[in-house]
Amino acid sequence: MSSASVVDPAVRGRLADGRVHQVILVREQDAQHSGSGCCGRLGERHTALGGAADFSHSRARMEQVGEIYRALAAAVPDLELTVVDPRNLVWLYPAVWRAARANGAGVFAALRAVARAGAPVAVVVDGNTLIRAACLIRRP
């Protein structure tokens, strides 16, 4: 996944109706758990104590998505740029649905957009999932 390919000149500026483009960068937060209750992790202590190795794949993707984030933020300052964990489904699914519908997608197309967005790593622009990637980093 290359960050350079995302910063397309066509994405610059606003939509025809004046709204800003909405980009959702989906990626898992390392050491984030749902339903593990209040006993799931130790924040940065978790990483400091050795948890980094467990979540190295998530961390590597976080850093790659971070590159995309920085490139987009620098190239297109007007963007509505959101980074979200795919497990934050209460926010993510409705947000993609709304974005897809606002950009003219029909009900089924919007549902398809929602279904495509919830990957461990994804880049969603105005309700369209442009990039999805595996989370495991394959080493040579």
Binding site: Q32, S34, G37, R45, L49, F55, L89
Partner: protein
């Protein structure tokens, strides 16, 4: 009393608390500044430090803090009656958890997003960092012990839940391969996985799995056998790469949390059940008194120290505007309180309608040992209000709790492994450093030993010390909260602000915790429970240590107000 009315009362209280008290905290205590450059902006890197919309952040924060613990505590605490339990949940959420979670985000954001563990060494004293480590060690030991017992009880009493609980494993493994290896979207597989899980519930009912034969063959009780099997599973699960099972199961857990909350509240609204359980229960002789035990039995759901780790570890780094700490921190605490309310309703209105409440809560042993069973039965009744057979509904609730507890144990054992290694390094025990299998085995064996404690609640004839293990867990959780509140209080004092909002819950929690620990000491001594006695004594020493550290830090700041901690 209609159950619906409790929902209304609680939500109205939460609304006014958010509207007025959290605004008071925001404006007068934490003095949130909309122009303050949060770490998310100052150190914006798109990785850890990302300005994030408050609704997105609330979603992250809430799903991280919600789980099985805010269900278990209230499910036990209704033993003293629904009124004390609900009152503590409401007041604790408003005046303790809200202040604590909100304040942890603010103090961390004002300190470059640093974690409470790091801040304890910086704001309170260097020794507090070690204190933090030791509290967490005991907390994790007890977490793993109690959740091991929780799962064993549920499997023993709901053999129909075994098949769906087992089905989750291959589903999660499949989702992990699908998503992490192939990079595909998880939405459809996770929804299908959830449906498959629910479809497995009637299958589990038709083919319940008992381990009686195995238990008899090895000469152990059924529950002991389940506990050993669960810890064996946990050893394996915690040695697997996280993407194989732990992370993909998260997607199912997230969906289950929402489904469970919706069906419980919907079941109450549609069923219009009344609460037959007593408002204040006349408890059996020799039961623990609600004062102080109520305040450590309900930790998560009223106040939980672990929230400060979530609030300061991640949430504070993504805070787009300081003023949004109110919405995320205080709002997240209210959400956790709502989960505790759901547990109270299930164990009072739901259980009362489904069976004999007085028999279920006959004594503290029955109340604590059967707490999750009561929640499951009560939730089953709420689902029956929606047209779903109560037995299927009960299995559904059991599966929800089991999957949450499984995730908690998996992460708990992993964390304990790191903590043990850190303690080994500090103590100079080099034989343990880097020995992952050995550390994992220790992280499993210590809580397993506690979970298998014989004797326990003799009054209930349960043969397990679950109720007392749970209250010990509550004390460590409250001590963690006490440490975070100390940091918040010192931080406020250093800025010449009124620290009472943090100090009052701090003093209250420390008083209740140390009192309960002292009562436990006498109880364990009288019953000859030496292991629990040693553990209780160690936690009491930590509590005393925390009192000394907090007092010293407050005194230092009062005499010589300093920055206390740098601000970004």
């Amino acid at each position: 009393m209609p159950a619906f009315l409790l929902i209304v009362i609680t939500l109205v209280a939460f609304y006014f608390a958010y509207r007025f008290y959290s605004r008071y905290l925001a404006e007068k205590v934490y003095r949130l500044d909309p122009n303050f450059v949060t770490p998310a902006h100052a150190m914006r890197d798109g990785v850890d430090f990302v300005p994030t919309h408050k609704h997105v952040l609330l979603g992250h924060h809430f799903t991280s803090v919600a789980g099985a613990a805010p269900i278990v505590g209230p499910a036990i605490a209704v033993y003293w009656g629904w009124l004390p339990a609900l009152t503590w949940v409401i007041l604790g959420t408003i005046f303790a958890a809200g202040v604590h979670d909100f304040g942890s985000i603010v103090v961390s954001a004002r300190n470059r997003g640093q974690n409470i563990g790091t801040l304890s060494g910086k704001v309170v004293s260097a020794r507090a960092s070690t204190l933090f480590l030791l509290i967490i060690f005991f907390l994790l030991t007890l977490v793993n012990a109690v959740f091991g017992v929780v799962m064993a009880i549920l499997f023993e009493k709901n053999p129909g839940a075994v098949v769906p609980a087992l089905i989750v494993i291959p589903i999660a493994v499949f989702i992990g391969q699908w998503a992490y290896r192939m990079g595909r979207s998880i939405v459809i597989p996770s929804i299908l996985g959830l449906l498959l899980l629910y479809a497995a519930i009637p299958v589990g009912q038709a083919y319940p799995i008992y381990v009686d034969g195995l238990a008899e063959a090895v000469g152990l009780s059924v529950r002991t056998t389940w506990i050993i099997l669960i810890f064996a599973y946990t050893w394996i699960a915690s040695r697997l790469p996280v993407w194989v099972l732990l992370q993909p199961r998260d997607y199912i857990n997230g969906q289950q949390l929402i489904v469970a909350l919706v069906v419980i509240f919907l079941g109450v609204l549609i069923g219009w059940d009344t609460i037959s359980a007593p408002a204040v229960n006349e408890v059996a002789p020799n039961s623990p008194h609600w004062f102080p035990y109520l305040f450590i039995t309900v930790a998560c759901g009223a106040i939980s120290g672990f929230h400060s780790l979530v609030a300061s570890g991640t949430t504070s780094k993504q805070l787009g505007n300081e003023t949004e700490a109110r919405f995320v921190g205080y709002g997240g605490a209210l959400g956790e309180g709502a989960l505790a309310l759901a547990a109270i309703l299930a164990c009072t209105a739901g259980l009362g309608a489904a069976g004999d409440w007085n028999a279920a809560y006959a004594d503290f042993g029955a109340a604590s040992g059967g707490a999750l069973g009561h929640f499951v039965t009560g939730t089953g009744h709420f689902l029956s209000n929606l047209g779903i057979p109560a037995t299927l509904g009960a299995t559904f609730a059991a599966v929800v709790v089991i999957t949450f507890a499984g995730t908690t144990m998996d992460t708990g054992v992993r964390l304990q492994r790191y903590i043990l290694e850190e303690i080994a390094e500090l103590a100079g025990v080099k034989a343990l450093v880097g020995r992952v299998n050995l550390l994992t085995t220790l992280a499993v064996l210590i809580p397993l030993g506690l979970a298998l404690l014989p004797g326990g609640d003799s009054s209930g004839g349960k043969g397990f010390a679950f109720g007392r293990l749970w209250t010990l867990f509550g004390t460590t959780n409250q001590l963690t909260a006490g440490l975070a509140l100390s940091i918040i209080g010192v931080w406020l004092l250093a800025r010449n602000r009124n620290p009472l909002a943090a100090l009052i819950p701090l003093v209250f929690l420390l008083f209740m915790t140390t009192w309960a620990l002292l009562l436990n000491l006498g109880d364990f001594f009288a019953k000859g429970d030496w292991l629990l006695l040693v553990m209780d004594a160690a936690i009491f020493v930590l509590a005393a240590w925390l009192v000394v550290e907090a007092f010293t830090a407050f005194n230092r700041e009062r005499r010589n107000p300093s920055a206390g901690a740098e601000e970004s």
